[in-house]
Assembly symmetry: C2
Homo-oligomer: 569 residues x 2
């Protein structure tokens, strides 16, 4: 226990306060009038990352031989080069499905008739924004964005588009990271931002019912006033919408505590490709009357139907939050620490994040104003543990007893408990500053993987063996959820490094029955990589279900599934 800080004062602060204090990056972005951008945390980092890379590696833009840094470009009207930057995969091409019609003036007239002038957007600046993804890596060429105000209007739009064979991209806050929410070619953009009403909230059950276009942060604020929280929270909460969250099965910060949206979403309303409205908007915790089809629409990225309303179970807001920053000598200790934390902190554990020494070194080297919370010696691994509970004195006592135990047993070699909100923010900044530090260090190959926790770090070790001194392999992520953010930092992009990473990283993940997309979805970027994480039989059944629900394939085409598997392709 000689390394343990003898005196500290426990912290009491809210999630929201902490997050608000973490806006250490300027998140300014040219915004379309009338549209508010309020991103914090990861999305800011991503955005900065993109801008930085674009500047630094401009020589790679357009027509680069290896395709790694190829920017988005329309090679011709029917062929789209998919640009990869941070993900660093080989570029691929997608061909426009010739069975899709092209918008004409009659179509526009029809949509104006049902939506009014304000619901039919043809303004180039607005369309440019809606055609471009948040990462500025994908860009479509849609000439039309529709903004329905009701489920009935969504139904009318889809019925019409299906009969005319007009492809449609469902869009919410357009904050996705895999190119799932923007057109690939000239698909009609159907944005549900106009459907943003809270329909009901029941304080006894904590069940919220709202329209798909509700911005997550607005729901968080609404619930905060009612004494509840959303079971999910994301960096993009200022723009992302609940319909998009549900459609992409967004993970976020609270998953270790409150589970995935498959558990939290109690019901939803969705509109199928042919305009059929599926009312599955139950507000019941228990309902065993037949197949629970809502799950088909959670995480299918708008390719099976457009989510128009959501019913969600929200937990009560708890007042006590504490944060510890700990060091472990090896990965096995990290795993054991997780086991102990689940046991001893059980009901109050709300985050369990890890970073390795390479990540810590990078952050300390590249980010200003940060210092090592445990400077007495270097450590191989660092763990952040957050607790959230209903009584501060209890949480403090549990956490102290837990820390005493894991220090005495040697699982933790050093540690500090945040004393105030500033210290907590600085701890979080270390963990959350890693993407920024990676960006400043040079080129970065990024992978978002789910792996069995006991195998997770083996990949990092193997990757270091493969790359030697060519690159710096950095690992961090949500250890509590088995989610590894594997980042490979190099002075510059080159084919030699990439060939040592891919397809090895996907094959390795596949062998361990891991997921090549833990929380971002497949979208356009990874649709053709689905076989690394799903069996051929499962993918085939997915394709059959897609064909059953959307025979003409008009909903979010080219995404999620390889188009070669779809009968309409």
């Amino acid at each position: 226990m000689e390394n343990w800080r003898p005196s500290y004062r426990l912290l009491k602060y809210s999630f929201f306060d902490r997050r608000a204090n973490l806006k250490f990056l300027d998140s300014s972005r040219t915004s379309t009038p009338g549209r508010a951008y309020n991103f914090s945390r990861s999305c800011e980092l991503f955005q900065q990352d993109v801008c930085f890379q674009r500047r630094k590696f401009s020589t790679f833009l357009r027509g680069s031989g290896n395709g790694v840094m190829a920017s988005l470009q329309n090679v011709d009207d029917n062929r789209c080069r998919i640009g990869y930057r941070n993900f660093a995969s080989m570029a691929s091409t997608t061909v426009r499905n010739p069975s899709f019609s092209v918008i004409n003036s009659d179509d526009i007239d029809y949509f104006k008739k049902i939506l009014g002038e304000s619901g039919v957007v043809q303004d180039e600046e607005k369309l440019d924004d809606a055609n471009t993804d948040w990462m500025r890596k994908q860009k479509g060429s849609s000439k039309l964005m529709l903004q329905p105000k009701s489920t009935q209007e969504v139904s009318q739009i889809l019925d019409y588009c299906n009969s005319r064979c007009l492809a449609v991209v469902p869009q919410g806050g357009n904050t996705g990271l895999v190119g799932g929410s923007v057109p690939v070619f000239d698909e009609v953009i159907l944005n549900v931002r106009g459907m943003n009403n809270i329909i009901s909230f029941d304080k006894a059950s904590g069940i919220l019912v709202c329209e798909a276009g509700c911005i997550l942060e607005n729901l968080i604020s609404y619930l905060d006033n009612e004494g509840f929280i959303m079971p999910l929270d994301l960096g993009a909460k200022g723009s992302c919408q609940i319909g998009g969250n549900v459609s992409t099965n967004a993970g976020g910060l609270r998953l270790i505590r409150y589970g995935s949206l498959h558990g939290s979403v109690l019901g939803l309303e969705a509109v199928l490709a042919n305009g059929t409205v599926l009312d599955m908007l139950g507000t019941l915790r228990k309902d065993n009357t037949g197949y629970d089809l809502k799950h088909l629409f959670i995480g299918s990225e708008g390719s099976l139907g457009i989510v128009t309303k959501v019913s969600i179970l929200t937990p009560p807001k708890l007042s006590s939050v504490n944060l510890a920053f700990l060091a472990c000598k090896d990965y096995t200790s990290c795993q054991k620490l997780l086991y102990q934390a689940k046991r001893n902190l059980g009901e109050i554990l709300s985050a369990f994040e890890f970073l390795d020494i390479n990540a810590m070194d990078l952050v300390l080297k590249h980010l200003d104003g940060l210092r090592d919370p445990l400077p007495s010696s270097t450590h191989n691994f660092y763990i952040l543990i957050e607790t959230t509970g209903s009584m501060e004195s209890h949480d403090k006592e549990k956490l102290e007893a837990f820390l005493l135990q894991v220090m005495e047993s040697g699982l933790v070699t050093d540690g500090v408990l945040s004393q105030d909100i500033n210290q907590a923010s600085s701890f979080w900044r270390i963990r959350e500053g890693i993407p920024e530090a990676l960006m400043k260090a040079g080129a970065v190959y990024k992978y978002d993987l789910s792996l069995p926790p006991e195998k997770m770090y083996d990949l990092v070790v193997e990757m270091r063996g493969r790359l030697g001194t060519e690159a710096n392999v950095v690992a961090y992520g949500h250890l509590g959820d088995g989610n590894l953010h594997l980042n490979i930092s190099a002075p510059q992009y080159n084919d030699s490094i990439l060939s040592k990473i891919e397809p090895f990283v996907y094959e390795w993940t596949s062998k361990q029955r891991g997921s090549i997309s833990a929380e971002h979805g497949l979208g356009l970027m990874k649709a053709n990589k689905i076989h690394y994480s799903k069996s051929a039989e499962t993918v085939k059944l997915m394709a059959s279900i897609k064909t059953l629900l959307d025979p003409k394939g008009i909903l979010n085409p080219y995404k999620v599934l390889p188009t070669s598997l779809l009968s309409h392709s």
Copy 2:
């Protein structure tokens, strides 16, 4: 606070101890050699109930005019009278699908070839048991039960049955309450009890992978040794199997704390009607690579595929359990109390059950050895609150503070905290003895409904208005989950009472967007009532998915969906 007991000692006991002490009914049942019956709680009650009713109302058996108490009978080879007893619905008839083949000696030879003699059961006594449901209300006439030992064997069986158009009933512990796990006619019984291996358990993540035939109690015992618990627990745990639990989306006692199986089940393996093995046996908390098809098999009662392996997230075992028995003057106070309990007890709340004065009166009148825990005056509503946490002193302090607050605010008019395991058992016996007391009181019409909590008791009040002095309307259930057990007790069954209950109870539930089957599923008994809880469009899509996955309809025919909707019917 004058009503509050000033002195009490907090209780520490395990779920398992409590349950073990609740075997107040003799659960003896003629068992087939080699098959262990170890039922406790509700299933014992149901069984007793059936025997009691059968004896008391024998005059109604066979051919009764109103059909209410019609026993199971094969009217002829192709027509099955569905007997309803406790559920008291009108009897209906099901006709054998003529497209299904009849087993012949070549079929038997084939199955013996792939399964060996031991895997092919034709013994009449064993078949009689497998043909009969736990409630002894449904009985099929299958001549063949197959007991595969591996997924490959399940696949071979289904491939063959599909090609021969032989109907198949998947069966696990056969403990279902809606006739879902027994043949209606001569379907082949496919029992997975021989597939009962635990495949892996990871202590770091708490993820268990096992075969479908593992008995729930065995998994609970296994995990107990590892310091974990199953996220579900049922009265039938001694016989029910995890494959059946998953296939029926079993609810059980821990749902308020750990949520449904849609959240806990991380992956599964299922075999489709044509023998295709779908490997979706992921062990990842996060995986956003395409449609999460495992949810199709959770709660579809074996009608879309047979679950052969399951991966499930298990929570750590916590040591501190406390129980309070409280009184409220009105239903609104019960609702407010639930709200406060969620807020103040938040992370340690593990049960929130309610019963009304009619239920309490019935229990005190008909069950021996029980006394009113709050005898100073009568109360309109009683609430049981259980907490489970990692530190007893903390839980005790939280519970005391909470109780003080709700007593002072008047939400609770009286209350007592269990002082030892015996007192806790007696509190639980009041709640759990209600079915037995109802049985002793005479005829009973039973309904298992999910309703919005704020509306739940309105149905009880309306039902009392409709029935007047003809019957005693008794209400209890899992208020924390919005699950009402509505029971109507009368001296005897008669058409006048039934006509005042049905279809009113279903129509009322439907109007409130409730569920006519909160946790039991639809099975055979409620397949034709699905429209009360699901929209026509949703049911139609269910039927389309059934047809997609099982074109010949061989899997668990006549169950879940009205056969008239299926193209193969």
